[in-house]
């Protein structure tokens, strides 16, 4: 059949050639799109810029995960180690004890330990933290602003469109590279 009709053969050859060219063109365009940045690292991780965050509380409710990927971090070198910590206690706390009625955190994720008079240290129990930013808000308002939210890159789903970024009122959620997956408030996490 094929030998009998050389015109069909030629047409088939041209069509195949066009298909291969089309596939090569698709791959080429894809490569061009990926390489266009001159080898710059790809920023496909989401992170919260703590200097833009207004602690609105959307992170806790808008993340696609059941327990939000946003968790509280503590910049220990910025903290004032106050006894009356406005990130830890309710504004009208009856007494400065660890009783649940006095404490701001809804899940008891902040651990308060005595260091030396009059200083107390506050550490975050991350598995308990739901990213509600109540402590962050209190600390920004009256303290040093050492408590801040970050997206836990170990748990983040890396959604194509981050639901927290859509819900963020201050455009604080942006794409970062794998080299700088976190934006810590007190500088480099290694130092």
């Amino acid at each position: 059949m094929a030998e009998k009709s050389p015109t069909i053969n030629r047409r088939k050859f041209v069509a195949d050639g066009l298909r291969v060219a089309g596939a090569a063109g698709l791959f080429g365009a894809a490569g061009l799109l990926t390489m266009r940045r001159g080898g710059e690292p790809i920023n496909n991780l989401w992170q919260i810029d703590p200097n833009k965050c207004v602690a609105c509380g959307n992170c806790a409710t808008h993340c696609v995960l059941d327990k939000s990927a946003a968790v509280c971090k503590h910049a220990f070198r910025m903290c004032g180690y106050c006894n009356l910590c406005t990130g830890y206690f309710e504004p009208e706390a009856a007494e400065l004890t660890t009783g649940a009625e006095n404490v701001l955190c809804p899940t008891g994720a902040i651990v308060r330990t005595f260091v030396e008079d009059p200083y107390y240290e506050y550490t975050i129990d991350e598995p308990k933290c739901i990213g509600c930013a109540k402590c962050v808000k209190g600390c920004i308002a009256f303290g040093n602003g050492s408590l801040y939210l970050q997206i836990d890159q170990d748990r983040c789903m890396h959604c194509n469109e981050c639901a927290i970024a859509v819900a963020c009122p201050s455009e604080a959620v942006r794409r970062v590279t794998a080299e700088t997956p976190y934006l810590p408030k007190d500088g480099d996490p290694e130092s």
């Binding site: 990926t34 469109e161 201050s170 455009e171 997956p181 996490p189």
Partner: protein
């Protein structure tokens, strides 16, 4: 000798001033502990990237296997098993992200915004199914796409959608594609991801509205085969174009079609086109007349669409966060509203001048006006092309799947008597050769 010392002194004074300024921000200076080491903040490292290589490898492997099963083995059962595997991995394990359908937007954004770097995995997810479709037809839809697989599973009582309705609803994916690309290219929103009906099921959690939408798509899918694929999926549009050009594609019968019409009844997606009778010479001028008329109408429709689309700038900009914020701030500054939003409060905190925000919003509005115009022209083109396609009179002798609509599910293979005969013969042959050996 004096100069270096003076310089050092100067630097020390400067540094002291700088550190004082930094300390002044902190309301309560951090204490100097004598015998207490400060804990370090723990940051969990990002998960390794190798899972992305696994994803791309599985995608390529899945596409190759689906093409083999659909075209060489002609195995409906194999395709079904593969589609369940795809649903499990790309759907429930990988939570439906990244997917080829959503990748359209990343590519559009990368084309529209030079500051955005599109990850190569996303590009691979966009391109690989296109290339496979160019050669093997829509085998991606058959057994690799988790959204398609979910709908394939529930299509148990499919009814036939009337042709006119099928043609009309078939315009929707084109419109959705245009809108999704326009909004993504401008950087306003990833609409296609936001209204993905099944991602809520894959992640076992979404807003109630999206879960209801997804549930409705599945419920409709019981009676109307693959409603998302046929009447919404924007990636299916692109695959449909390429599938028309594909080298190999699903053919119903391996031998001569006997016109029994069994396949036409079993196709749940209305993809099988019946043979057409030869056009009578009397009807030929009328058909040609309509064809020429719609050909002339095409530029008119495109122009009309562009004009109408340019009026979409205002409704489209409602979706843009920058424009929304600028309008809120403007309304507050001009006493039109006394209720502030979280976004406007956050903006006031930054101390940025509102004019800067207005300029950004204005540039976004201009971009959206162009995007709206392009979108309108696109809709005009799609409607015009639909008319032209309907006015054609293609000659067809057998029952053949329409390559653009066929998702290579393989249901028709089993119902084709010729295929059954073919199968029996081949198994008999292999048995004979076995006994002979």
């Amino acid at each position: 000798m004096m100069r270096p010392i003076r310089f050092v002194l100067f630097a020390v004074v400067l540094l002291a001033a700088a550190s004082n300024a930094a300390l002044a921000v902190e309301r309560f200076p951090p204490p100097e502990f004598t015998d207490h080491a400060l804990p370090t903040t723990q940051f969990a490292p990002a998960r390794p990237a190798f899972i992305q290589y696994v994803d791309v490898a599985l995608l390529a492997g899945g596409l190759a296997l689906a093409s083999y099963l659909a075209l060489a083995r002609r195995s409906r059962r194999g395709l079904f098993v593969l589609s369940i595997a795809a649903l499990a991995w790309f759907g429930f394990v990988r939570h439906g992200c990244v997917c080829s359908i959503g990748a359209i937007q990343n590519v559009a954004l990368a084309a529209g915004n030079a500051n955005y770097t599109v990850p190569w995995v996303v590009v691979a997810f966009f391109v690989l199914p296109l290339v496979f479709t160019l050669f093997f037809g829509r085998t991606f839809c058959a057994a690799v796409c988790p959204l398609g697989a979910a709908q394939e599973l529930v299509a148990v009582r499919p009814i036939r959608v009337p042709r006119w309705l099928e043609h009309a609803l078939g315009l929707l994916p084109h419109v959705y594609l245009g809108l999704g690309v326009a909004l993504a290219a401008v950087g306003t929103a990833f609409l296609i991801c936001r209204y993905d009906p099944f991602v809520g099921f894959f992640r076992l959690g979404a807003t109630s509205a999206m879960l209801i939408f997804g549930g409705c798509v599945l419920a409709i899918g019981v009676f109307v085969g693959r409603p998302y694929c046929r009447f919404l999926c924007p990636y299916g549009v692109v695959l449909g174009w390429l599938s028309r050009l594909s080298k190999w594609r699903v053919r119903i019968t391996p031998d001569q079609c006997i016109g029994c019409r069994l396949c036409e009844d079993v196709c749940p997606y209305g993809a099988i086109e019946p043979p057409t009778s030869a056009l009578s010479p009397a009807a030929r001028p009328a058909v040609r007349g309509w064809f020429v008329f719609f050909l002339v109408l095409l530029p008119v429709l495109i122009a009309a669409g562009a004009v109408l689309g340019s009026h979409l700038a205002v409704p489209l900009s409602r979706l843009d966060p920058a424009v929304e914020l600028a309008e809120q701030v403007w309304a507050e500054d001009h006493g039109l509203t006394h209720v502030t939003t979280d976004a406007s409060d956050a903006f006031r905190n930054t101390q940025r001048p509102p004019e800067e925000l207005y300029r950004a919003a204005q540039s976004q509005r201009v971009k959206l006006a162009w995007a709206g115009m392009g979108f309108g022209a696109w809709v005009g083109l799609v409607v015009g092309m639909k008319f032209i396609m309907l006015a054609r009179y293609p000659r067809q002798t057998d029952y053949e799947p329409n390559p653009a609509a066929c998702v290579s599910c393989g249901r028709c293979f089993w119902y084709c008597p010729q295929d059954q005969v073919h199968r029996l013969q081949t198994t008999k042959d292999t048995k004979n050769t076995k006994t002979a050996c």
